[in-house]
Structure formats: C-alpha cells, structure tokens
C-alpha cells in the first residue's frame, strides 16, 4: 500500500500535458492532453523585426492546427479521445500548423463527408433509395444523383444492388446522404457496381493502408491476376477476377494482409505466382 509516489507520478496520464511534438508516433490513451506548439515570431507579415500588434498583449498566440480524428479541442489544448498513434502532417502551403490526428483501429464506420463508400441498397421508397453503409443509419440516395438521370430516365437500381458513391451530407445530427456523381455531374467511377464479384468486410485501418500512395500490396496483387477492385472507406472491398477461384484467393489474401508481415506476404505471392 505504501507505493513510492515518484513511480506513480510518471504514469499519471494527463496530469502533465505533454507537448504534441514530443509524442508524435507514440501510442496515446484517451484522457491525455497535448499542448500545441506556439507561434514563432519570425512569421510576422512585416518582415524581420516587425510584429503585428495584438490587442491582447499578454496572451501568446498559438499556431492554427487542424484537429483530426481522435482529438478534440479543449481550451487551448488537445484532448485525446481514442487510443492509437499520434500523427502529424505539415501544411503544404500557407500558414497553420498542419493536421494532428490519432491513427486508431476500428471496425465500425462513421460517415464522413466526402468519403467514397460501397453501400447495399436495402429499400426503394418513392424517389429515394435507402443504402446500408455500415454506419448507425442507412444513407439516402436520390434517383437523380446518377449520371444522365432525369425524371423520365430513371437509373436501373434494384434492392440488393451494390452502389459506389460519396457522401455529400454526413454529420452527427442528420441522416447521411450520398450521391453517385461528382460536383461536375460526371460519374467518375461511381454508380452501380456490376454483376458478380465478391463483397467482403475488413477493418478501416486496412483500407487506409491499402489506399495509401505506393501501397505494395496492391501492386503485387495487380501483377498476379487481372482484376477489378473497389475499395469503400467503410471497410468494404468488392473484388472480381476471371474465375471464382481467383476471386476467392484475392479475397483471402486481402483479408489476411492485415495480420501478415511483408515477408510472409511476399512468400505467399511468390507461391501463388508459380502455381
């Protein structure tokens, strides 16, 4: 019972808010607070030696950072709400401190505006299709949101079809709405996904990994068989190859990718390429 206090103090999460920069790449737990870096004076608009007049002379100005998934603003600090690794991306151009976010593993999808997802049509009611996207509510899809659709020329969508679309409205207070056209009115790959093929579910982290630029897995898979593949940010992947056997092999590889190291993966690919 008489624990030395010094040992305990180290592990008190949140009792000493750490600077966000020092924690990059480490695992953070919910409840921890992170300090934002302060603005440097050299960035004043007038050039060396000039500083913009601030009304509140006492307050130190902080850099404007974007708070990504897993973080919430609380006062002038960031509160961690999910467990994962803290990441940071520098701003491409302009001012601002970039984006901070927490890379966490999740199976359940929460709709986000702009995300491309694969949905399954569950109901047709009047002019609206109800599409199940794996979130807490089915999304609504209007029949006019397809390329070349007019009131006379309705799209051929049945209950049970797979739809690849993006969210135009997705916030916590409203029912999510999706469309199958982009802002110019072109389909751009979206719409009803064709016949055959296989739809399966993976974790959201794996999808992000596969969609990252220069993903080795996709390049290796592409060399194996000719295939069509659609990734939905809601954890769903649709895959189609020439034969059913090849489709199943591809599905198994992608599902297992998560748990394999890159060496094991290369082994399996080489074995498959031989056979």
């Amino acid at each position: 019972m008489a624990e030395p206090v010094s040992v305990a103090a180290e592990y008190l999460a949140g009792s000493r808010a750490r600077a966000a920069r020092t924690v990059l790449g480490q695992v953070v737990l919910p409840g921890e607070e992170l300090l934002l870096p302060e603005q440097e004076d050299a960035e004043g608009p007038g050039g060396a030696g000039e500083r913009p007049l601030s009304l509140n002379a006492g307050a130190r100005s902080r850099v404007r950072v974007v708070c990504g998934p897993g973080l919430r603003r609380c006062g002038d600090r960031l509160l961690v709400t999910k467990c994962g690794r803290l990441r940071h991306k520098e701003p491409g151009s302009g001012s601002g401190g970039g984006v901070y976010w927490v890379d966490s593993q999740q199976k359940r999808y929460v709709p986000v505006k702009g995300d491309h997802v694969i949905g399954i049509v569950t109901a047709k009611s009047g002019d609206i299709f109800k599409v199940d996207v794996g979130g807490s509510e089915p999304a609504s899809l209007s029949y006019l949101s397809f390329e070349g659709a007019t009131k006379r020329n309705r799209p051929n969508v049945q209950v049970g079809d797979l739809i690849y679309g993006q969210f135009v409205v997705a916030n916590k207070d409203m029912e999510p709405e999706m469309v199958c056209i982009d802002s110019c009115g072109r389909a751009n790959g979206m719409g009803v996904i064709g016949q055959d093929g296989l739809l399966f579910k993976v974790t959201l982290g794996l999808i992000r990994k596969l969609l990252a630029p220069d993903c080795e897995i996709i390049q290796e898979v592409g060399k194996l068989y000719p295939l069509e593949i659609v990734f939905g940010m809601n954890g769903r992947i649709w895959v189609k190859a020439k034969t059913i056997q090849q489709t199943l092999i591809l599905a198994n590889i992608l599902e297992a990718c998560e748990h394999m190291t890159s060496d094991q993966r290369k082994q399996i690919f080489s074995r498959l390429a031989e056979s």
Binding site: M1, A2, A13, K82, C83, R108, V110, H259
Partner: protein, 255 residues
C-alpha cells in the same frame, strides 16, 4: 507505417505489472487482458484478475430503436450475463452501475441517436467481480474505438473486522461477516451463546470506479458496515492501486 499498423489478433496477455501474488505491500492479483478476440462485435476484450475473468463485447455506434433514442447523445446499454442461471436482480443493479460509469466517460454527444451496447459475460467469478467487469468494459470500449474523455478502472477493497484493508479480495475474503449457527435445533438464543460462530470474513466490501485523468471517483458501490474515516482510507488505497491498473492498461495498449 506498414509494420506499425499490424493488428494480429491483438493477443496481449499481459502479466500483472510488478504485483506478485499477495505480498503485504502490493495487494492486487495477477492481471491479464486480451483484445479483439471476438470477430462479430466492433470491440471486445477479456480481462482476468487472479481467477476472476470477464469477457466484454461492444457494439456501436449502431442503430437504435426510435423508442430508445436520445436526440442529443448516444444511448448506452449494458448487458451482464452471469456464469450460470438467468440474469437476476443483482445483475440488473450491476448493469446500472456499469452503465452510469460508462456514461460519465464516453463522449455520447458525438454520436446522437445511436446506441452503444456493452455485453459482459462472466466466465469465472472468484471475487472482485464488479471491478473486473468495469475493467473489461473499459478495454472493450477502447478496442471498439468509442470516443472517451478518459479511461476508467474498478478497484475493490474489503475491510476486515479488525479494520485491515485487503485490495482485490478473493470471494472467500469478500464474504461479509455473518453469524453462523452451529447448534442444533431452533433455539432462540442470541449471539452470546457459544453455539453461534462468528465468521471472520469481511465486515464491508467497497468497489470504486476511478477515472484515469485525476483519479476522481466515478462510481462507488458498498456493502457492509464502515466508518467515515475507513471510507476515506479505502478510497485512498483504491486510488493508489488504480495507478497499477492504468499502467497495465498503458502497457497492454502499446502495439
């Protein structure tokens, strides 16, 4: 980034940190925890404290029935299933305690009109069951990625009849003391009679739920007789013990 993102079934059966079984100084039992062991729920965890083991699964944020939806926050549901028999009133009351603790910690306002369901199954009960359920629920919520403002843990302590504190008691140490009639027949004799035996077990059992940010008290559930100062003593001991639990959480959540 690839190698950091691996999630091979997340089997991290961690051994309890620094706390060997039952020394006079540190009195928490051996801990172990395993995450992501069930394929259907969005998050799952199994928590082991000595011989007490609880399996938790979390579904959410998912669809909610219109009758149960709350317009501005998530509806949290806890289901606790005992090892044998049908769930009874004791399970219902524990469910309510766990639900109130989770509601204080989960950021429900980020997911209004959804439901977050925590399902707990008692695999084996050897004392400190409520604390073990709380720990399992916390690990499962973290595994599911439900946004939380802090982590929480449960600690149980038992007060002996002479005032000694036992943290994380076994079921034998938890039995609140009682008079045992070892005489014969139904004579209406009082406790002074030699045929009554006083079981030297716990006089009171207290369970606390503490949060990880400032060790604040989230929930307390007590049974038995204790004085004001003893309550403060138990609370302080539980706060000290919770540091071990949070350190164990941190180690087991490092990938």
């Amino acid at each position: 980034m690839e190698e950091e993102m691996h999630t091979d079934a997340k089997i991290r059966a961690e051994i309890g940190t620094g706390c060997s079984p039952r020394g006079p100084g540190c009195s928490l039992r051996h801990f172990a925890c395993e995450q992501n062991l069930l394929s259907r729920p969005d998050g799952s965890a199994s928590f082991l404290q000595g011989d007490t083991s609880v399996l938790a699964g979390v579904y959410g944020p998912a669809e909610v029935k219109v009758s149960k939806e709350i317009f501005n926050k998530a509806t949290l549901e806890v289901i606790l299933r005992p090892k044998i028999g049908l769930p009874g009133v004791a399970e219902k009351s524990r469910e309510r305690l766990i639900r109130n603790t989770c509601e204080a910690v989960v950021l429900g306002t980020l997911h209004p009109r959804t439901s977050i369901t925590v399902v707990l199954q008692v695999v084996s009960d050897a004392g400190s069951l409520l604390a073990c359920c709380l720990n399992a629920a916390c690990m499962a919520l973290v595994d599911a990625g439900v946004p939380m403002r802090a982590l929480f843990c449960g600690v149980t302590c038992a007060l002996d009849s002479d005032g000694t504190l036992v943290l994380d008691p076994t079921s034998k140490q938890e039995k609140v003391s009682t008079w045992l009639w070892k005489g014969r027949g139904l004579e209406a004799k009082g406790p002074e009679s030699p045929q009554w035996d006083w079981l030297q077990e716990a006089r009171a059992v207290l369970t606390f739920a503490l949060d990880s940010v400032e060790r604040k008290l989230l929930m307390s559930s007590t049974k038995g007789l204790y004085s004001d100062s003893e309550l403060q003593q138990c609370l302080a001991a539980a706060q000290a013990a919770s540091q071990h639990v949070f350190r164990f959480y941190r180690e087991s959540l490092q990938r």
